[in-house]
Amino acid sequence: MSNVYVSDFVYALGSRKTHVTESEAAGRLLSSAEDLESAGFAWHHLCEPGESAYGLAEAVTAQLAESGRLTGIDAIVYATCLPLNGNIGDPGEFARTRDVKHLMDFPASRLQADFGLTDAVVLGLNQQACTAMPGSVRLAGALLAAEPSWRKVLCVTADRFPDGAIYEQAYNLISDGGAACLVGREPEGFRLVSAHQITNGALGQATDDETVGSYFSFTHRLFRESLDRAGLTVADVDWVVTQNTNDKAWQILARLLGVPLDRVWFPSMPDAGHIISADNIVNLAQLIASGQLRPGQRVVLMMAGFGLNWQSLILEAV
């Protein structure tokens, strides 16, 4: 993957910004607002009733189109955390007609049509939960390796929770959100150094406490194996861009891994909480915007999700 590059990180959040105390009062949480605030959460973003996951995908893709970057796309990898966000058809129509085509109205196809990406083939990725975005980048890199004539892949992720859902998973405050990036052959953004994934299907229906319980050992393992696969050591890592989870969790992991805490980067957490599979992209975009990133620096992106899945990317700033 040494000649594959990742760039153009954009994101969009549900349009209603709500404080955790308001969500507690509205019955959207399992934990108390006080406990979530003590973990570093404060605000989160919810889609309004008429706002869809596809709308979030549209919004991020539109940002790329407006910047003139949405050209020469050979494939779209459309990733969702929730499988139900991989269908924009009306399940009610299926119930009424018993015609399964209403369960196969694919957002990737809609996106291709809406943005005129007529040369792009589409792929859906919907069984990697919150790790789907790094999964899509990995898949895009593999597609470019397998298709010598392809130049660029659009990776999109977008999720909103169904109306009435609890906006807390495994003790994390959730935001609806989407993100996108481009994976191509031109040296821009970041070189994709390596990608890694661990799946423990036996924990596919893990409880929240089991998810928390296994978090440290598997995340520790993911980080170590990621470096090993890339032939790197901790000293070669300049930044670790994490998902937005209890802020003490990465204080612990930073110590265990020997990573300075000021190099662990998740600044969007107080404003947005855990943005399903978009955390990495949102935090990476904010790292770039901070002006602290230097060419040649290496960034490790880390995500954990249901399944249970753990995925990472190692990127090197161009």
Binding site: S31, S32, D35, S38, A39, Y171, N200, A202, L203, A206, T207, D208, D209, E210, V212, G213, S214, Y215, F216, S217, F218, H220, R221, N246, K248, A249, Q251, I252, R255, L256
Partner: protein
Amino acid sequence: MGILITGADGYLGRRAVSALLETTGDEFVLAVRAADAAELAAKRDRLDAELGAAGHGRVTVVGADLTRDDALADVDPRRVTAIVHAAAVTRFSVDRETAQRVNVDGTVRLARFARRCPDLRRFTLLSTLYTAGRHTGDVPERRHEDAGFVNFYEWSKWRAEQHLFDSGLPLSVLRLPTVIAEDDGGTVVQYNAFHNTLKLFYYGLLSLMPGEPSTPLALGTAAFTSAAVAHLVRPEVPAGIYHVTPDPAQTLTLGQLIDLTFDVYERDDNFRRRNLMRPIYCDRQSFDDMVDIARRLKGGPIEQAVASVAPFGTQLYLHKTFRNEALRAAWPGYAAPDPLALADAVCDHLVASRWGRQPVTRQLEGAL
């Protein structure tokens, strides 16, 4: 003339009474805490049933709440020749006020009573090895200076020792290990922080291990501990401080325990299928952070289980080698449990019984 035993219906108290009934011809006054006559009668019946024929005619059960000044009003001090003080709150998570009230003030009251016993020849305190608190390195069988403590249990037992050392009573202090099983067979009846920690790992609820792999662990059985009590209270055994623990060379380390535990777990299909990883040893700050996280996971099993482990976690960073030369000299034939075999048997039992939630047959244990 007889032996007064406080906390006689407690986990170790009951076993000590049984052992003493076998090894002495004495009569016993068993002091138990009871809120009213009905509770006292129920405890008396239970003790009578457990002690069986050995106790008939030799045992008197009295109510005695050592948090009250008149606790031993029903006991004639002229008839007491020895006291074994087993009553205590032994939870690592005990709060300071309770620890003071029960473990310290209760001991003070009992010492006051002891001074009124004209024929008292021995006062034996069942204490803990962890009155050493934050001391590290070799821990001799001596009075400990205050080096600080990890929890109020340790602190209160240390305070109780200090009071008795200064009391002028004919004192023996038996510092006991963490009791993890009934006997070498590994059966567990009373669950504590040791078992709760292993439970967290089995169920995948914790993947951080407080402590260092090389930290020695002083573990024992109820059978070993009660046999020690029965031997060391004999009049011919010199009064003194005794560490009731295996020899230092026969002490398990934390790393050995965790490795062995997972070896046992991995023989279990249910555990193996979940592909859980062995825990990562973490520094003290990280464990404190984990405890802080767990406190916020309200209502779930992690919160409760970590709460029982946390008050002891710091000890797993404090290397101690408990010397036991005095014990060996006073009890030449003593045989502490083989630590590896004991830990293996205990883990086997825990898995087979799912921490006491399902019955165990030896066949099932053997199949794991």
